[in-house]
């Protein structure tokens, strides 16, 4: 679970990550619905000062600081401050140059030419050149590297160094998410040439980013300090400390003690525990829809759930507003399809299905589920309408959500058995497709390409369309969407996909939870945007008289 997430680290690969984090706090973005509470930000024409330390609390322990190996969010948050990619997202979720000054995409979409920024230095003083990019690419596709991210880079047909600051990358076929994939953080060739397994580097990384690595106490904290030579300008906050506290209550107590400056709150903490005078004076809370959603996935190989009427009926029978109220204490939005409100792919014309148990009963009756047995459950051909809703252990919100669903479906005569499994076992069952329905969440990246999740070619074993959804029109649109680059054109395609998937309901979309970060009031310069609050982290600052750490 991540509390702090600089935008750079977010788009190293692409797509969607299944949320298996347990209590979610989404560090990410926002929209016009952005609200921030407590002390109003004092943003007169004060001059930003250097100094002070920010201490961010993190539930998860970072695992490795090698960017191409870091798969967990705790590690990604830290490497995102030490390294840069070629491209990154700005506050409006537009792709802009990072280490690349600009790029050119050939008309057929097969070639991307990156023009790299000159004068960028590694934190040890060496110059950054195209050879570092080549090295990172070679490591990514090297079969000996234990990286999970090789997929996107294996699509590269040819990688050519034109000169020290120009790279031409050729693809087999046009691939729009390829551009984002170069947000992959670049590693220094000169330091790693002779280090086969990154063992030393993973504990002592050197990058081009705004912060330099200082110290890592395993399982405790990671300390970074500002890189005075940073090419975008020295960050104002001198030190960044990520403190690992695996327990949500302790995390909150440490915040209350003001030994942490920045954590993600749970809905309960947000609504009930931080409404005191103390918190209002000392902290600033933010709230914005995260890039993720929770859903019920139906196994469409199961003859019962293959019937669209049944899925529709269940959708009508579940009161999603009630779930948001009960589980998230109101801190979430209705989810209508595979994209979230902050994404440009979101189709705002699609309306959520409202709670209507009568309609649900009618639909069920249409497909023959009409008679009820003594217990009040529907029966057809002597069989009771009963299924198992599977979810993972350790996620309190999902458990509560499942219970509310169980209750609501009982009212229309469907018996739900809830089964909660440890994550590893849970995945095993999904891999084997031995489930009827799962309650899960996806964390989304900024690029809307969801080919792996909804394309019919991805229903094979261990692939991610585990509900076995098939729709030729969606297939075609998904293929088209990843082949063209201009956002305006892609927007039309993905909004259509949003509509189609909403209509087909392979998932019952439930809610988009809000991200709820809280930050010590002494930090200024925070600019809420649709891309969250951390996009301009290096511009945050603390007035000299309020600095707490020297």
């Amino acid at each position: 679970m991540s509390i702090f997430s600089p935008p750079k680290s977010l788009f190293r690969g692409i797509f969607l990550i299944l949320i298996f984090i347990f209590i979610f706090t989404f560090p990410f973005p926002s929209t016009s619905t952005f609200t921030f509470l407590y002390a109003q930000q004092n943003q007169k024409d004060e001059i930003a000062c250097y100094g002070d330390t920010i201490v961010a609390g993190s539930i998860g322990e970072p695992i490795t600081l090698v960017p191409i190996l870091a798969a967990d969010s705790a590690s990604q948050n830290i490497v995102g401050l030490i390294f840069n990619g070629l491209v990154k997202y700005d506050k409006d979720i537009n792709l802009i140059g990072d280490l690349a000054e600009r790029w050119k995409i050939s008309d057929d979409g097969l070639e991307i030419t990156f023009y790299l920024r000159k004068g960028v230095k590694w934190q040890d003083g060496a110059s950054f050149t195209a050879r570092d990019v080549l090295f990172t690419y070679e490591k990514l596709i090297d079969p000996q590297t234990k990286t999970p991210y090789s997929g996107d880079f294996k699509k590269v047909k040819d990688f050519k160094l034109i000169d020290d600051y120009t790279i031409k990358i050729t693809y087999e076929e046009p691939f729009a998410p390829a551009l984002v994939s170069w947000g992959m953080l670049i590693m220094p060739a000169h330091l790693l040439k002779n280090e086969e397994d990154f063992r030393k580097f993973s504990r002592r990384p050197v990058g081009t980013g705004p912060y330099k690595f200082v110290q890592w106490e395993t399982g405790g904290r990671v300390v970074l300090e500002a890189n005075p030579e940073y090419w975008e300008g020295r960050p104002y906050i001198d030190r960044y400390i990520s403190s690992v506290i695996p327990d949500q209550s302790t995390l909150f107590l440490e915040l209350r003690n003001r030994s942490l400056d920045y954590i993600g709150l749970t809905p309960l903490q947000y609504q009930r525990q931080t409404e005191t005078k103390f918190f209002k004076q000392n902290f600033r809370k933010y709230k914005y829809p995260s890039f993720g959603y929770t859903y019920i996935g139906w196994n469409l190989r199961n003859p019962r759930f293959k019937t669209k009427e049944i899925r529709e009926a269940i959708n009508y029978a579940i009161d999603k507003e009630e779930i948001i109220k009960g589980v998230l204490l109101g801190l979430g939005k209705l989810c209508t399809g595979p994209f979230v409100p902050n994404s440009w792919a979101y189709n705002s014309d699609v309306e959520a299905v409202s709670y209507n148990p009568q309609k649900a009963r009618e639909l069920l009756a249409e497909v023959g589920w009409e008679k009820k047995n003594k217990q009040g459950f529907l029966v057809k051909n002597g069989k009771q309408f009963e299924f198992t809703l599977l979810t993972n252990q350790g996620n309190e919100q999902r458990r509560k959500c499942a219970e509310i669903i169980q209750q609501r479906l009982k009212q229309v005569g469907i018996k739900v058995n809830i089964k909660i499994l440890e994550w590893g076992c849970f995945l095993d069952i999904i891999d084997k497709r031995q489930f009827e329905a799962v309650l899960l969440g996806w964390g989304l990246s900024r690029d809307p390409d969801c080919y792996d999740i909804f394309h019919s070619s991805k229903t094979g074993p261990k692939e991610f369309n585990f509900v076995s959804y098939k729709n030729e029109q969606v297939d075609e649109l998904l293929e088209k969407g990843r082949k063209i680059f201009p956002v305006e054109k892609r927007k039309a395609i993905y909004q259509k996909i949003h509509r189609l998937i909403h209509n087909d309901q392979p998932y019952t979309f439930l809610y988009v939870p809000d991200a709820l970060p809280i930050i010590d009031v002494r930090f200024q310069g925070i600019e809420p945007s649709i891309n969250g609050i951390s996009h301009n982290f290096i511009k945050w600052w603390v007035a000299e008289e309020r600095q707490r750490y020297k």
Partner: protein
């Protein structure tokens, strides 16, 4: 006696091997895969997964995997962690000192309190002191540790601001003097050790009390009283020593416990100890680390048993091994 112990030690080898085989089989039989293969992350392509399976030798039959593991173990090499690629021994070494420190200190505190409590209550079973201490230690035993910990954190850490809430070191630890560091560490350890000790007091003190009551009812104690030996001498010299004998077994059995930590505790207090390492490794199906910790635990359990037997022979002249 020596041949007896030689035999015991030789006997340990097959037992140890048996433990490793069973552990290895069980952790591989459990559903789920190592964390890299576990993530439902579409960024990770099927090919990349296959490749990782091969790199970790997970495609080989399980007996081959076991033999490879055993071959390395003979050279005392536990292999590399699946999670971060570092040596298992390094990962364990990082976590061991703090775990040992906390467990040994907690054990010390438990013994220091449990012995007097047990003995004094045994002198007058059912008396006021016995009743009150029984009440007190059972409160400690039955209160959920995490709850007590949170209350103490709230009270001592936030309300009174006397003690740090979590972690084992302050931010400025590196800048402190030697004594400053000691003090800093001590302040951080007070809460976790007190909470751990409070929870463990019941078992040990009740054991001491029970043994002591038994011993005090023995004929030789009565005989000693009849001889007119002072009560103090009887209790300290004759009864106490004999009451301690069965505790040797308990102490021997608690040796492997010294390297194990509690996940709940370590999470609440944010202590990077063995409990969290083991828990996280299990969740991530990091087989080499799990096996490493299990092997050390098994070795210590066997060693603890052996030591307990040795100590018995040394402490109790009635026991002779032949």
């Amino acid at each position: 006696m020596f041949p007896y112990f030689l035999k015991r030690i030789l006997n340990l080898i097959p037992v140890f091997l048996g433990i490793t085989i069973i552990s290895f089989a069980i952790i591989h039989l459990a559903p789920g895969k190592p964390s890299y293969l576990q993530g439902m992350d579409p960024r990770i392509s099927a090919e990349a997964r296959e490749q990782l399976v091969k790199l970790y030798n997970l495609d080989k039959p399980i007996c081959v995997q076991y033999l490879n593991w055993l071959k390395r173990l003979v050279k005392l090499d536990f292999g590399n962690s699946f999670t971060d690629g570092r040596r298992v021994s390094t990962r364990i070494k990082e976590r061991l000192p703090i775990t040992l420190l906390i467990n040994i200190l907690a054990m010390g505190v438990i013994i220091a309190f449990a012995l007097p409590i047990g003995i004094i209550s045994a002198l007058k079973p059912g008396g006021l002191f016995d009743k009150w201490t029984t009440f007190f230690v059972f409160i400690g035993f039955s209160l959920p540790g995490f709850w007590l910990a949170l209350l103490l954190m709230l009270f001592l850490g936030i309300k009174l601001n006397w003690l740090p809430i979590s972690g084992i070191r302050s931010f400025n630890y590196a800048q402190l003097s030697f004594w400053g560091r000691g003090l800093d560490l001590a302040k951080h350890l007070i809460l976790p050790i007190s909470v751990a000790a409070f929870g463990g007091l019941a078992g040990f003190s009740r054991y001491v009390r029970g043994n002591m009551v038994n011993v005090l009812a023995q004929d030789y104690i009565r005989a000693a009283y009849a001889q007119g030996i002072s009560k103090k001498t009887i209790i300290c010299k004759y009864a106490f020593k004999n009451a301690l004998l069965p505790l040797i077994t308990i102490l021997g059995l608690s040796i492997p416990g010294l390297i194990g930590g509690s996940v709940i505790f370590e999470s609440i207090f944010a202590i990077p100890g063995m409990g969290r390492l083991f828990y996280n490794s299990t969740m991530a199906r990091d087989y080499p680390v799990i096996m490493g910790i299990l092997v050390i635990g098994a070795a210590l359990t066997l060693l603890g048993n052996l030591l307990a037997d040795l100590c018995y022979a040394w402490a109790d002249p009635r026991i002779r091994y032949n």
